[in-house]
Symmetry: C2
Subunit: 168 residues, 2 copies
Protein backbone atom coordinates (compact mmCIF):
# COMPACT_ATOMS: atom_id res chain seq x y z
CA UNK A 1 0.00 0.00 0.00
CA UNK A 2 1.30 3.47 -0.76
CA UNK A 3 0.66 6.44 1.48
CA UNK A 4 -2.19 5.28 3.69
CA UNK A 5 -4.03 7.71 5.93
CA UNK A 6 -0.63 8.78 7.29
CA UNK A 7 1.34 6.87 9.83
CA UNK A 8 2.53 8.65 12.91
CA UNK A 9 6.18 7.98 11.94
CA UNK A 10 5.58 9.61 8.57
CA UNK A 11 3.87 12.62 10.13
CA UNK A 12 6.84 12.99 12.46
CA UNK A 13 9.23 12.87 9.49
CA UNK A 14 7.39 15.64 7.64
CA UNK A 15 7.16 17.76 10.74
CA UNK A 16 10.85 17.27 11.63
CA UNK A 17 11.88 18.17 8.09
CA UNK A 18 9.86 21.42 8.15
CA UNK A 19 11.57 22.42 11.38
CA UNK A 20 15.04 21.47 10.10
CA UNK A 21 14.56 23.20 6.73
CA UNK A 22 13.42 26.39 8.44
CA UNK A 23 16.75 26.69 10.24
CA UNK A 24 18.85 25.73 7.21
CA UNK A 25 20.64 28.35 5.20
CA UNK A 26 19.48 28.41 1.59
CA UNK A 27 22.05 26.77 -0.60
CA UNK A 28 23.08 26.88 -4.23
CA UNK A 29 25.82 24.29 -4.11
CA UNK A 30 26.67 22.71 -7.49
CA UNK A 31 25.96 19.04 -8.24
CA UNK A 32 29.68 18.26 -8.57
CA UNK A 33 31.08 17.09 -5.21
CA UNK A 34 33.51 19.63 -3.76
CA UNK A 35 36.01 17.02 -2.51
CA UNK A 36 35.73 14.86 -5.68
CA UNK A 37 35.01 11.87 -3.49
CA UNK A 38 32.59 8.93 -3.75
CA UNK A 39 31.91 6.72 -0.72
CA UNK A 40 30.32 3.27 -0.92
CA UNK A 41 29.09 2.01 2.45
CA UNK A 42 26.50 -0.19 4.11
CA UNK A 43 22.90 0.94 4.72
CA UNK A 44 23.31 0.04 8.42
CA UNK A 45 21.51 2.45 10.75
CA UNK A 46 24.63 2.88 12.91
CA UNK A 47 26.77 3.92 9.95
CA UNK A 48 26.48 7.63 9.28
CA UNK A 49 28.91 8.26 6.45
CA UNK A 50 28.75 12.04 6.71
CA UNK A 51 29.33 11.96 10.46
CA UNK A 52 32.20 9.47 10.49
CA UNK A 53 34.09 11.34 7.78
CA UNK A 54 33.15 14.86 8.82
CA UNK A 55 31.56 15.50 5.41
CA UNK A 56 29.71 18.74 4.80
CA UNK A 57 26.80 19.11 2.37
CA UNK A 58 28.20 19.20 -1.16
CA UNK A 59 31.43 17.34 -0.35
CA UNK A 60 30.94 13.79 -1.64
CA UNK A 61 28.68 11.27 -3.31
CA UNK A 62 27.39 8.70 -0.86
CA UNK A 63 26.34 5.27 -2.14
CA UNK A 64 24.79 2.82 0.28
CA UNK A 65 23.24 -0.64 0.11
CA UNK A 66 23.00 -3.78 2.21
CA UNK A 67 26.63 -4.71 2.88
CA UNK A 68 28.24 -1.86 0.95
CA UNK A 69 28.59 -4.13 -2.09
CA UNK A 70 30.02 -3.09 -5.45
CA UNK A 71 26.87 -4.37 -7.15
CA UNK A 72 26.04 -3.52 -10.75
CA UNK A 73 23.98 -0.68 -9.33
CA UNK A 74 26.89 0.67 -7.30
CA UNK A 75 29.13 0.43 -10.39
CA UNK A 76 26.44 2.30 -12.35
CA UNK A 77 26.41 5.00 -9.70
CA UNK A 78 30.21 5.24 -9.65
CA UNK A 79 30.30 5.55 -13.44
CA UNK A 80 27.84 8.46 -13.23
CA UNK A 81 29.79 9.91 -10.32
CA UNK A 82 33.13 9.79 -12.13
CA UNK A 83 32.22 10.54 -15.73
CA UNK A 84 29.41 13.04 -15.30
CA UNK A 85 30.18 14.62 -11.94
CA UNK A 86 33.95 14.44 -11.74
CA UNK A 87 34.78 12.38 -8.66
CA UNK A 88 38.31 11.00 -8.62
CA UNK A 89 38.64 8.88 -5.47
CA UNK A 90 36.57 6.06 -3.94
CA UNK A 91 36.19 4.77 -0.38
CA UNK A 92 34.56 1.38 0.24
CA UNK A 93 33.51 1.10 3.87
CA UNK A 94 32.33 -2.08 5.57
CA UNK A 95 31.64 -2.23 9.29
CA UNK A 96 31.81 -4.49 12.32
CA UNK A 97 28.60 -6.27 13.31
CA UNK A 98 27.23 -6.13 9.77
CA UNK A 99 23.87 -7.86 9.37
CA UNK A 100 25.12 -9.45 6.14
CA UNK A 101 27.42 -11.66 8.22
CA UNK A 102 24.49 -13.08 10.18
CA UNK A 103 22.60 -15.20 7.65
CA UNK A 104 23.03 -17.49 4.67
CA UNK A 105 21.49 -16.47 1.36
CA UNK A 106 19.96 -19.85 0.58
CA UNK A 107 18.18 -20.11 3.94
CA UNK A 108 16.51 -16.72 3.67
CA UNK A 109 15.68 -17.10 -0.01
CA UNK A 110 14.09 -20.51 0.60
CA UNK A 111 12.05 -19.04 3.45
CA UNK A 112 10.93 -16.03 1.35
CA UNK A 113 10.02 -18.22 -1.62
CA UNK A 114 7.96 -20.45 0.65
CA UNK A 115 6.19 -17.65 2.46
CA UNK A 116 5.42 -15.50 -0.60
CA UNK A 117 4.97 -18.22 -3.21
CA UNK A 118 7.35 -16.26 -5.48
CA UNK A 119 10.68 -17.86 -6.35
CA UNK A 120 12.60 -14.69 -7.26
CA UNK A 121 16.15 -14.78 -8.63
CA UNK A 122 17.50 -12.24 -6.15
CA UNK A 123 20.79 -13.09 -4.42
CA UNK A 124 20.89 -11.22 -1.11
CA UNK A 125 24.66 -10.80 -0.93
CA UNK A 126 25.41 -12.29 2.50
CA UNK A 127 29.11 -12.88 3.20
CA UNK A 128 31.12 -14.61 5.92
CA UNK A 129 34.42 -12.67 6.03
CA UNK A 130 34.31 -8.92 6.45
CA UNK A 131 37.86 -8.11 5.30
CA UNK A 132 37.80 -10.54 2.37
CA UNK A 133 34.48 -9.04 1.29
CA UNK A 134 35.90 -5.51 1.26
CA UNK A 135 38.88 -6.67 -0.83
CA UNK A 136 36.47 -8.29 -3.29
CA UNK A 137 34.38 -5.13 -3.61
CA UNK A 138 37.47 -2.98 -4.15
CA UNK A 139 38.67 -5.46 -6.81
CA UNK A 140 35.30 -5.38 -8.54
CA UNK A 141 35.52 -1.59 -8.78
CA UNK A 142 39.13 -1.29 -9.88
CA UNK A 143 38.78 -3.93 -12.61
CA UNK A 144 35.58 -2.58 -14.17
CA UNK A 145 36.31 -1.23 -17.66
CA UNK A 146 34.19 1.91 -17.16
CA UNK A 147 35.76 2.86 -13.82
CA UNK A 148 38.60 5.35 -13.99
CA UNK A 149 42.12 4.61 -12.79
CA UNK A 150 41.72 6.46 -9.49
CA UNK A 151 42.56 5.57 -5.87
CA UNK A 152 40.06 3.08 -4.37
CA UNK A 153 40.47 2.48 -0.64
CA UNK A 154 38.83 -0.24 1.46
CA UNK A 155 38.16 0.33 5.17
CA UNK A 156 36.27 -1.11 8.12
CA UNK A 157 34.20 1.16 10.37
CA UNK A 158 34.04 0.01 13.98
CA UNK A 159 30.44 0.71 14.99
CA UNK A 160 31.28 0.72 18.71
CA UNK A 161 34.21 3.17 18.60
CA UNK A 162 33.44 5.14 15.42
CA UNK A 163 36.96 4.50 14.11
CA UNK A 164 37.97 3.54 10.58
CA UNK A 165 40.54 0.79 10.05
CA UNK A 166 42.37 0.47 6.72
CA UNK A 167 42.04 -2.82 4.83
CA UNK A 168 43.32 -2.14 1.34
CA UNK B 1 45.09 1.41 -8.71
CA UNK B 2 44.30 0.70 -5.07
CA UNK B 3 45.81 2.61 -2.19
CA UNK B 4 48.74 4.40 -3.79
CA UNK B 5 51.30 6.19 -1.68
CA UNK B 6 48.40 8.02 0.01
CA UNK B 7 46.60 10.96 -1.47
CA UNK B 8 46.24 14.08 0.57
CA UNK B 9 42.43 13.74 0.49
CA UNK B 10 42.71 10.22 1.90
CA UNK B 11 45.12 11.33 4.64
CA UNK B 12 42.69 14.08 5.58
CA UNK B 13 39.84 11.55 5.78
CA UNK B 14 41.76 9.27 8.13
CA UNK B 15 42.85 12.15 10.27
CA UNK B 16 39.34 13.67 10.43
CA UNK B 17 37.87 10.28 11.39
CA UNK B 18 40.38 9.83 14.25
CA UNK B 19 39.44 13.22 15.62
CA UNK B 20 35.69 12.59 15.24
CA UNK B 21 35.86 9.09 16.76
CA UNK B 22 37.77 10.42 19.76
CA UNK B 23 34.90 12.70 20.67
CA UNK B 24 32.18 10.11 19.98
CA UNK B 25 30.52 8.28 22.82
CA UNK B 26 31.04 4.53 22.58
CA UNK B 27 27.91 2.88 21.33
CA UNK B 28 26.31 -0.54 21.51
CA UNK B 29 23.26 0.15 19.40
CA UNK B 30 21.60 -2.95 17.90
CA UNK B 31 21.59 -3.58 14.13
CA UNK B 32 17.79 -3.26 13.95
CA UNK B 33 16.80 0.34 13.15
CA UNK B 34 15.09 2.01 16.10
CA UNK B 35 12.46 3.79 13.98
CA UNK B 36 11.84 0.75 11.72
CA UNK B 37 12.43 2.98 8.72
CA UNK B 38 14.27 2.48 5.41
CA UNK B 39 15.09 5.48 3.21
CA UNK B 40 16.05 5.23 -0.46
CA UNK B 41 17.60 8.43 -1.81
CA UNK B 42 20.04 9.78 -4.36
CA UNK B 43 23.82 9.73 -3.83
CA UNK B 44 23.92 13.49 -4.55
CA UNK B 45 26.44 15.35 -2.41
CA UNK B 46 23.83 17.97 -1.41
CA UNK B 47 21.43 15.34 -0.10
CA UNK B 48 22.21 14.42 3.50
CA UNK B 49 19.45 12.00 4.44
CA UNK B 50 20.26 11.98 8.14
CA UNK B 51 20.31 15.78 8.27
CA UNK B 52 17.12 16.43 6.29
CA UNK B 53 15.13 13.94 8.39
CA UNK B 54 16.80 14.62 11.72
CA UNK B 55 17.86 10.97 11.99
CA UNK B 56 20.08 9.88 14.86
CA UNK B 57 22.56 7.01 14.67
CA UNK B 58 20.62 3.75 14.88
CA UNK B 59 17.32 5.17 13.60
CA UNK B 60 17.01 4.03 9.98
CA UNK B 61 18.54 2.16 7.08
CA UNK B 62 19.78 4.52 4.40
CA UNK B 63 20.03 3.27 0.81
CA UNK B 64 21.57 5.53 -1.80
CA UNK B 65 22.48 5.32 -5.47
CA UNK B 66 22.54 7.54 -8.55
CA UNK B 67 18.97 8.84 -8.82
CA UNK B 68 17.53 7.02 -5.81
CA UNK B 69 16.34 4.22 -8.08
CA UNK B 70 14.54 1.09 -6.92
CA UNK B 71 17.11 -1.02 -8.76
CA UNK B 72 17.45 -4.76 -8.16
CA UNK B 73 20.15 -3.85 -5.67
CA UNK B 74 17.87 -1.45 -3.80
CA UNK B 75 15.15 -4.12 -3.74
CA UNK B 76 17.72 -6.61 -2.41
CA UNK B 77 18.65 -4.15 0.32
CA UNK B 78 15.00 -3.50 1.21
CA UNK B 79 14.31 -7.24 1.42
CA UNK B 80 17.21 -7.60 3.87
CA UNK B 81 16.03 -4.49 5.71
CA UNK B 82 12.46 -5.74 6.10
CA UNK B 83 12.85 -9.47 6.58
CA UNK B 84 16.07 -9.64 8.59
CA UNK B 85 16.14 -6.29 10.37
CA UNK B 86 12.47 -5.49 10.85
CA UNK B 87 11.87 -2.20 9.03
CA UNK B 88 8.22 -1.51 8.26
CA UNK B 89 8.09 1.78 6.33
CA UNK B 90 9.91 3.11 3.25
CA UNK B 91 10.67 6.62 2.02
CA UNK B 92 11.80 7.15 -1.58
CA UNK B 93 13.40 10.59 -1.93
CA UNK B 94 14.31 12.25 -5.21
CA UNK B 95 15.59 15.82 -5.38
CA UNK B 96 15.57 18.95 -7.48
CA UNK B 97 18.55 19.51 -9.73
CA UNK B 98 19.32 15.79 -9.94
CA UNK B 99 22.24 14.97 -12.21
CA UNK B 100 20.23 12.07 -13.66
CA UNK B 101 17.98 14.61 -15.39
CA UNK B 102 20.94 16.15 -17.23
CA UNK B 103 22.01 13.48 -19.71
CA UNK B 104 20.73 10.74 -21.97
CA UNK B 105 21.83 7.17 -21.32
CA UNK B 106 22.62 6.35 -24.94
CA UNK B 107 24.88 9.40 -25.38
CA UNK B 108 27.00 8.67 -22.35
CA UNK B 109 27.15 4.93 -22.97
CA UNK B 110 28.25 5.46 -26.56
CA UNK B 111 30.93 7.85 -25.37
CA UNK B 112 32.17 5.45 -22.67
CA UNK B 113 32.19 2.50 -25.06
CA UNK B 114 34.20 4.52 -27.53
CA UNK B 115 36.67 5.86 -25.01
CA UNK B 116 37.27 2.61 -23.12
CA UNK B 117 36.82 0.13 -25.97
CA UNK B 118 34.45 -1.85 -23.70
CA UNK B 119 30.81 -2.08 -24.72
CA UNK B 120 29.31 -2.85 -21.31
CA UNK B 121 25.60 -3.62 -20.85
CA UNK B 122 25.12 -1.11 -18.04
CA UNK B 123 22.08 1.19 -18.28
CA UNK B 124 22.85 4.36 -16.33
CA UNK B 125 19.27 5.11 -15.28
CA UNK B 126 18.88 8.70 -16.52
CA UNK B 127 15.31 10.02 -16.46
CA UNK B 128 13.52 13.11 -17.75
CA UNK B 129 10.63 13.64 -15.29
CA UNK B 130 11.43 13.83 -11.59
CA UNK B 131 7.90 13.22 -10.23
CA UNK B 132 7.09 10.46 -12.71
CA UNK B 133 10.37 8.78 -11.85
CA UNK B 134 9.56 8.78 -8.14
CA UNK B 135 6.14 7.27 -8.82
CA UNK B 136 7.80 4.53 -10.89
CA UNK B 137 10.28 3.71 -8.14
CA UNK B 138 7.54 3.55 -5.52
CA UNK B 139 5.52 1.26 -7.83
CA UNK B 140 8.50 -0.98 -8.38
CA UNK B 141 8.89 -1.39 -4.60
CA UNK B 142 5.22 -1.91 -3.73
CA UNK B 143 4.68 -4.51 -6.46
CA UNK B 144 7.73 -6.65 -5.73
CA UNK B 145 6.65 -10.05 -4.38
CA UNK B 146 9.30 -10.07 -1.63
CA UNK B 147 8.51 -6.58 -0.33
CA UNK B 148 6.13 -6.43 2.61
CA UNK B 149 2.78 -4.65 2.49
CA UNK B 150 4.02 -1.56 4.35
CA UNK B 151 3.67 2.20 3.71
CA UNK B 152 5.95 3.41 0.89
CA UNK B 153 6.10 7.19 0.48
CA UNK B 154 7.61 9.13 -2.43
CA UNK B 155 8.97 12.66 -1.88
CA UNK B 156 11.07 15.34 -3.52
CA UNK B 157 13.83 17.09 -1.57
CA UNK B 158 14.40 20.69 -2.60
CA UNK B 159 18.17 21.07 -2.50
CA UNK B 160 17.99 24.86 -2.24
CA UNK B 161 15.53 25.08 0.68
CA UNK B 162 16.04 21.72 2.40
CA UNK B 163 12.30 21.03 2.30
CA UNK B 164 10.56 17.78 1.44
CA UNK B 165 7.53 17.82 -0.86
CA UNK B 166 5.14 14.85 -0.97
CA UNK B 167 4.62 13.12 -4.31
CA UNK B 168 2.90 9.84 -3.53
Amino acid sequence: MTTPAGTSEYERILSDNRRIAASLERSDLPATPRRKLAVLACMDARVSVEEMLGLERGDAHVLRNAGGLASDDAIRSLVVSQHLLGTAEVLVIGHTGCGMLAFRDEDVRRDLSGRTGADVDLPLGAFSDLEANIRSQVDRITTHPWIRDVPVHGLIYETDTGRLREVV
